[in-house]
Symmetry: C2
Subunit: 465 residues, 2 copies
């Protein structure tokens, strides 16, 4: 069998894997990246990139139909939306491929599996077996959906998010199961396209990982877009109704009810994916389905790292990218490295929501004397020019140290504005460091400035009691 | 004559003046604000707010007409665009008025003029004279347009920006004189509305205060939108052509030429406005048309401050707001206060441009050993989802101290993204402080992160040589 040896072998070509491979190769390591599917992983092919492309296009539809100054009939070419989505995904893949190549990474397609801790077998595109021997290995094999006890996607009446991304049809009545990030984003996409959407969430609140106040406000926003929301409810069964629809059984506080919809979207949960890796041969044993790792992302086996979705929740591309950078720095000798704890959470629904750090309750539970500052977009000039009067920014700070403990945002471009908070918190900029900066006027960014002023009752464009 | 006395008298109700008044009143000062025109000053009535409202609406027109998936004929209701602009301006005024009231500021309409350094005469709305006596005075009277030797606006064929904001007509051929911030923004608004636009700039470059590379790129972007650009050119005369147009004489490197357009927009320059204040009586003497001030914004006369546009360039609302805060803190006893030097420059054209701090050349001239990092939006996932592949972020840093010296951006939401740079620079976050933060994916904010990585040749989503 042919043997290829390298200094770093990266398993998986998603954002974590390709980031690690590019960084390592640029720093001089002989690097091989093996990917069994498409370059770019979930994010690029099935997640962030295609969903944001669909959100970007479809949000034009209500913007035009509710415009105060445009009049006329517009036809929506759904197939053209799909075409652009495919082109964006394909272009992104090629972009990554060319950077890998330009950085000197050897890219191989195939399924690699361990034969020993530092040796893996892989088949090349012609089906020939090759042995790969590496000084260091990074496992960046991502995550898969898990649907638990609920009805499984069948690609027909019951959709996975992959099916939903294809826009094969715009159902008249769509039931979206799970009001987490993906559920909320797909609800928004299909609502934009004119579908009647029912959002079913087993927790008491939508987006249950958010600060409860923001969850409650978000539910109101969904209702405002005429999305029906059932919380504290599970979808226990979904059966063809004999015509073209699906009869679903919903179990909630009020008992069970049957309703008929046209399609069901199961958003599912995610868990790390190690299938085919033969972890046993590497001496790796997942605990509760997950490989444990050190601060430097090294597993129990020296020189083998696990990053990104493969390292467990949260399943965010930016976590994977930060892991990719940190793991390479660690394996090249920087033992003090660890990924930042300031992890932004973003939801690109309508409206956008984002958060980083502690909620007010969490901060109090941790013993902080908390001072909060809240500013509402209704007092923001730029939001006014955009015709937006909903949304808010909340800063949770420590009253004594003035440290920013958490920031929560809901409103236009919240997913961008949260970077101000992440940058501030990562660098321990206190509330006063935000207050003394000049934020351009009129910008949405001023809401962050005014929320910092509001910590001390000093916001300008809002009544302070 | 009736006399009202107060601790702080603010002259002018623009962003600088109302910010100062609200802050002072909340901190317990008995405060009077006098405004002779509309509350909100230039920004709210004639500047930032109405222009951004028009930009926001009109940019929908090319977005719809060039959409890859919307088909049909849309009619543009220009009068409805004007209605919304008026409603946004009126709503903003009322918002400010209610906050002034809620904060305990006494608001008076009228023209105030000094009778002594701490006494002013004003007429109330009934025409009755009132004497105002104040411990401290803030001059926040804004700026006026100055058209130099060029043709003056006549409200008919030759427009001021006020005329242009009214959207009385969309000329087939509009000559915009001055390719500064306002010229570029109005060119964009009228181009969106379908006008043929000629942009005339006497300097060698458009947006001449920008880094030359960005000016050059911006010119290309204008040409890409089919806006004709003549640099190194002045408009020396504009005369009715006897039909419905204007014959303008343009003087450039190639000599002079006559062309006919339908309207001319004179953007003019701005200078501080003290008319009617009777500065002599206060012992204040402008130098070269401008009142000098200390770091704490106090003029040569103790207890009299000058802020915002009235304090000279740059004529930005956010400068005025920062001045308003600083002046109040100074007059209340914080002698160390001074407004931040990190002043963002923003242009809301198409594309947006923004900058803060030094250009590369300026940094070298100041003796820095410079390291730059550049990232292009073509490598940014979020820009891809928006269908945007133009634009860049440039970070200028000191090679040794790692300090960020300047940041320059051109591309989608650059006017928002620049806040990341301002916040970083204000708090002396070095390049490494940006590199270690986690920026959510996929966001435009990642371009700032990648530009920081690029300072060290480490950008992920771009080929590094």
């Amino acid at each position: 069998m042919n043997t290829k040896s390298c200094e770093l072998l990266v398993l998986g070509g998603g954002p974590g894997g390709y980031t690690a491979a590019i960084r390592a190769a640029r720093k001089g390591l002989k690097t091989i990246l093996v990917e069994k599917g498409h370059l770019g992983g979930t994010c690029l092919n099935r997640g962030c990139v295609p969903t944001k492309t669909l959100i970007e296009d479809t949000q034009m539809i209500p913007a035009v139909s509710t415009s105060h100054f445009l009049r006329g009939d517009m036809k929506i070419g759904v197939s053209r939306i799909v075409e652009r989505k495919k082109a964006v995904v394909e272009g992104s893949r090629q972009w990554v491929r060319s950077i890998l190549k330009g950085s000197g990474v050897t890219f191989m397609e195939g399924q690699a599996s361990f034969v020993s801790p530092k040796e893996l077998a892989v088949r090349d595109t012609d089906g020939n077996p090759i042995k790969l021997s590496a000084s260091k290995v990074i496992i960046a094999t991502g995550a898969v959906e898990d649907y638990g006890a609920g009805p499984k996607p069948d690609g027909n009446l019951i959709w996975s998010t992959d099916d939903a991304l294809s826009l094969k049809t715009v159902p008249r009545r769509l039931a979206v199961v799970g009001a987490g990030n993906r559920g909320v984003e797909f609800a928004s996409i299909y609502r934009n396209l004119g579908a009647g959407v029912l959002l079913v969430e087993k927790n008491r609140r939508v987006l249950p990982h958010l600060d409860p106040e923001f969850s409650d406000r978000y539910k109101k926003a969904l209702l405002g877009h005429k999305i029906k929301v059932l919380t504290g409810t599970t979808l226990s069964s979904a059966q063809p109704d004999g015509k073209s629809g699906v009869t679903v059984v919903l179990e909630g506080k009020q008992g069970s009810q049957e309703i008929v919809v046209d399609r069901v979207l199961q958003t599912g949960h995610r868990r790390p994916h190690y299938e085919g890796l033969n972890l046993d041969a590497a001496g790796l044993v997942p605990d509760n389905g997950m490989l444990a790792h050190s601060d430097g992302l090294e597993t129990a086996v020296e020189g083998i790292y696990v990053i990104g979705d493969a390292a467990g929740p949260p399943y965010y591309a930016h976590k994977a990218i930060s892991h990719g950078i940190a793991a390479v720095d660690h394996l090249m000798g920087d033992n003090s490295v660890k990924p930042s704890p300031f992890m932004p959470h973003c939801i690109w629904g309508n409206p956008e929501v984002a958060a980083v750090g502690l909620t007010e309750d969490e901060a109090i539970d941790q013993g902080h004397e908390v001072k909060t500052g809240e500013f509402h977009f209704v007092g923001n000039g730029r939001a006014g020019t955009m015709g937006i009067d909903q949304g808010l920014v909340l800063i949770v700070s420590d009253a004594e140290s003035r440290e920013v403990l958490g920031v929560h945002m809901m409103g236009p471009h919240a997913t961008e504005l949260i970077s101000l908070a992440t940058l501030a918190m990562e660098n321990h900029i206190p509330v006063d460091g935000i207050k003394k900066a000049i934020f351009a006027h009129p910008t949405l960014s001023e809401t962050f400035f005014e929320a910092a002023l509001a910590v001390d009752g000093e916001a300008i464009h809002l009544m302070m009691d």
